[in-house]
């Protein structure tokens, strides 16, 4: 049971909802909700902080902009898109959540995401853990040398860095080179076995992009552009990001 009645003023209108609607692609609609609850019944974030996707959307429809854009649920939803996948009206609730994140003052957004985004902006590796071009190249070379020296049959294993004209430019999550470098080796072996022509780049190698999760459009764009330039500078044909 709801113990408090929500009072809506006659003229109250959701500026937030209209803004989100205006950026949705053609056919996007936030008013077509049938309140059927399919979104909430299949959402793992339902119930966290007494919130769920249907409630979130209804709050937007009722113009409860302030409550909506300050509720931490925007950071508990992972924008996994299962709600829109299940929705008979294809209502883009994740887009609403993304814009709710964007409504938070930058310095009030979760510290871990903020710090990871800002760290990635510091150098062209785009590493959220701050690993530099030199760090990355050293770790890859060091791990490769050990495999070649100790694993029988893998003396010719390669982990190319900055190989111009390679078919694939491969990104790598920072966690591997920084905290568990041996986890990179199985991937190299698979690429070797299938004869893939691939390379890492010292610039733009980090796969993660916390600026996207932070809903910081400018920083997100910057990260993507740095990586894109790295792929193009090496004249690679395919950019592989395993995130």
């Amino acid at each position: 049971m709801v113990d408090e009645v929500v009072k809506i003023g006659k003229k109250r209108k959701s500026a937030f909802k209209d803004m989100v609607k205006s950026i949705l692609p053609e056919g996007g609609n936030l008013d077509a909700c049938l309140t059927c609850g399919l979104c909430s019944s299949g959402c793992p974030a339902t119930g966290i902080g007494d919130m769920d996707p249907r409630k979130f959307l209804r709050m937007a429809a009722l113009g409860l902009d302030e409550e909506l854009t300050t509720h931490p649920w925007a950071w508990h939803c992972t924008m996994c898109m299962r709600c829109i996948h299940a929705c008979p009206m294809k209502i883009n609730i994740p887009q609403l959540v993304f814009n709710a994140r964007k409504a938070w003052p930058r310095d009030k957004r979760p510290k871990g995401i903020l710090g990871s985004c800002d760290m990635a902006l510091r150098n062209d590796t785009c590493s959220a853990m701050g690993a530099t071009e030199e760090d990355f190249e050293f770790v890859v070379g060091d791990v490769l040398d050990e495999v070649r020296a100790t694993q029988v049959g893998w003396e010719d294993l390669e982990a190319p860095v900055n190989k111009e004209g390679a078919e694939f430019f491969l990104n790598q999550n920072s966690r591997e080179p920084v905290t568990e470098p041996d986890e990179m080796v199985p991937l190299w072996k698979i690429l070797h076995k299938v004869g893939a022509d691939w390379t890492y780049g010292t610039k733009g190698w980090a796969a993660e992009n916390y600026c996207m999760f932070m809903a910081d459009d400018e920083a997100w764009k910057h990260i993507v552009e740095v990586k894109k330039k790295a792929v193009e500078d090496l004249r690679c044909k395919v950019w592989l990001n395993t995130e």
């Binding site: 299949g42 793992p44 974030a45 119930g47 966290i48 902080g49 931490p72 950071w75 508990h76 939803c77 992972t78 924008m79 996994c80 898109m81 299962r82 996948h85 299940a86 979760p110 510290k111 871990g112 995401i113 990871s116 050990e146 495999v147 020296a149 100790t150 694993q151 029988v152 049959g153 893998w154 999550n173 966690r175 568990e180 041996d182 986890e183 080796v185 199985p186 991937l187 072996k189 698979i190 076995k193 796969a207 916390y210 999760f213 932070m214 395993t242 995130e243």
Partner: protein, 143 residues
């Protein structure tokens, strides 16, 4: 196997989920594979996406992941394969936090294990039952 949201529902849909199953079954054997329910495009997010692992809400993140943990436990499987980085970190944490203690492995680990080329330092996430299986030949490093 966890279906990564980004790869499956948000990008390539059920065809890539079928491709993943083809690879996994080829690697572990059809009789050793069991799907969780629901699956493919209808599978649930593990709770590691969207920056949740870094956002400083561990209680909420695990509350979110309870559904995933229940889904995995219901299969009775002793290994969960996570072909995504965030999924691996989150599901591994769920396995420990909720006491299921199923093993959580990257897909690349099982592919190399089945090809007989998974080196001794590349077995961090294998359980005791597979830890020594198909160990390739190694030699002492020359100083």
């Amino acid at each position: 196997m966890q279906d990564p949201c980004q790869l499956v529902r948000k990008t390539f849909g059920d065809p890539v989920a079928d491709d993943l199953r083809f690879v996994v079954k080829a690697v572990v054997g059809e009789e050793n594979y069991i799907d969780m329910t629901p699956n493919k495009s209808n599978n649930y997010c593990c709770g590691g996406g969207g920056g949740f692992l870094q956002s400083g809400f561990p209680d909420e993140r695990r509350q979110y992941g309870k559904l995933k943990d229940d889904q995995i436990k219901a299969t009775g499987a002793t290994y969960c394969i996570t072909p995504c980085h965030n999924c691996h970190a989150q599901v591994h944490d769920l396995s420990e936090h909720y006491g299921g203690h199923y093993n959580v492995v990257h897909l690349w680990t099982l592919i190399c294990l089945s090809m007989g080329c998974l080196g001794p330092n590349e077995r961090t996430y294998l359980g005791e039952d597979l830890a020594e299986l198909l160990m390739p030949e190694v030699r002492e490093e020359e100083e």
